[in-house]
Symmetry: none
Subunit: 216 residues, 2 copies
Amino acid sequence: MSEVAATGISVLLVDDHPIVRQGYRRVLESQGDLHVVAEADNAADAYGAFKAHDPDVVVLDISMPGASGLEAIRNIRARSPRARILVFTMHNEAVLVKAAFGAGASGFVTKSSEPSAVVHAVRSVARGERAMSDDIAHVLAEDSLSAGSALDQLGEREIEILRQFAGGATTEQIAAHLNLSVKTVQNYHYLIKSKTGARTDAQLVRLAATCGLTRI
Amino acid sequence: MSEVAATGISVLLVDDHPIVRQGYRRVLESQGDLHVVAEADNAADAYGAFKAHDPDVVVLDISMPGASGLEAIRNIRARSPRARILVFTMHNEAVLVKAAFGAGASGFVTKSSEPSAVVHAVRSVARGERAMSDDIAHVLAEDSLSAGSALDQLGEREIEILRQFAGGATTEQIAAHLNLSVKTVQNYHYLIKSKTGARTDAQLVRLAATCGLTRI
DNA sequence: TGCAGCTCGGGCAAATTTCCCAAGCCGGAT
DNA sequence: ATCCGGCTTGGGAAATTTGCCCGAGCTGCA
């Protein structure tokens, strides 16, 4: 375990964008005590890389193609409950944050955070503490006071499908990405509209956008 | 006026995520000949930074809060037609690519690209060439086979229908509001998708939003 | 005069949406 | 242990929409 513990913190980077990984790596390694020991570009590879390198901290983006990042979190935590996972994504929707912590994440930092905040979060998580960026704390605080957004009624699969749909993906693409039948995706599509009260696809996209699920 | 032209290429980074900017900066500067002379985290600041530093290349993400990145492109190009702008985003929809080039971008690279491809694109754009990543070339090629253009090729009626549709109106509501048959509205709907190249209603909404036709 | 493009809608096969239903799974309550 | 409820996954079938064909009336313009 953590063979570099005496000299620093080992990190596994999981993000589907190569240049983004490259950037994180450079930012983290410039700190001196943080070492990126492995990278993965999808949820499926994440656990293999985790097992092979046993990093102190996993830094991962939950918006990836294929199995959702939430699944990757559960996957890793189920087999290695000691794993420390720091979610690092552009999304700041309360439902996603709660889902991530519920899945076993130790921290949640948005890409809007200052690099120093991210580095700080990595160290906090490595120490076994819970960490989140200021904007996430704010979102969670707001959320706990409010009656809840329309997206709160959605399960995580529904959230994932809505995200991809609002991002412009076709039903077939979503089905292929998530390994579901087209029929299932269609049913989710209908279910999401029912739950949120959206009458048209356009309203669904607007809802997803206003809730921060997707950016336009 | 590119005062560093003899020694390298000056770059202005525009992205709303600080750590992502930090990462890009490090990746680009590790090349030796690329120098990030300024950063901006929103479209509004982008032109100010451009004017102040007159970079050889602007690398910007078009998915930002507030004014759209497309607006920033038009803004910069309108006042400095010599500007070279490389769009760097996670989106790979043909409509967005065409809108970006239509707005005056010189290049379009997705975040799925290898870092080397991004660096190469920056150099190409600096030389005044057009650049795009392989996946973008692919979606454009696909798109050109099925015809399709940008938003400004739409007629007045089509624009009006698109606006109402993207605003969340149902087909019946649009028909009633414009005193048209449902069938006619459906035909316009199809026609708009054909002309813009949008494959999905969601893509249509995104297009309308990025072009300022509707606000979300 | 003629062509081109917008506007408006019909037609019809193919696809999707809209619901309803069921089965497996899991967590929590009894 | 058992039941209940919710999530996930899909089948089925009717209703609706889509995709793409078409024609007709209108304009502007060359």
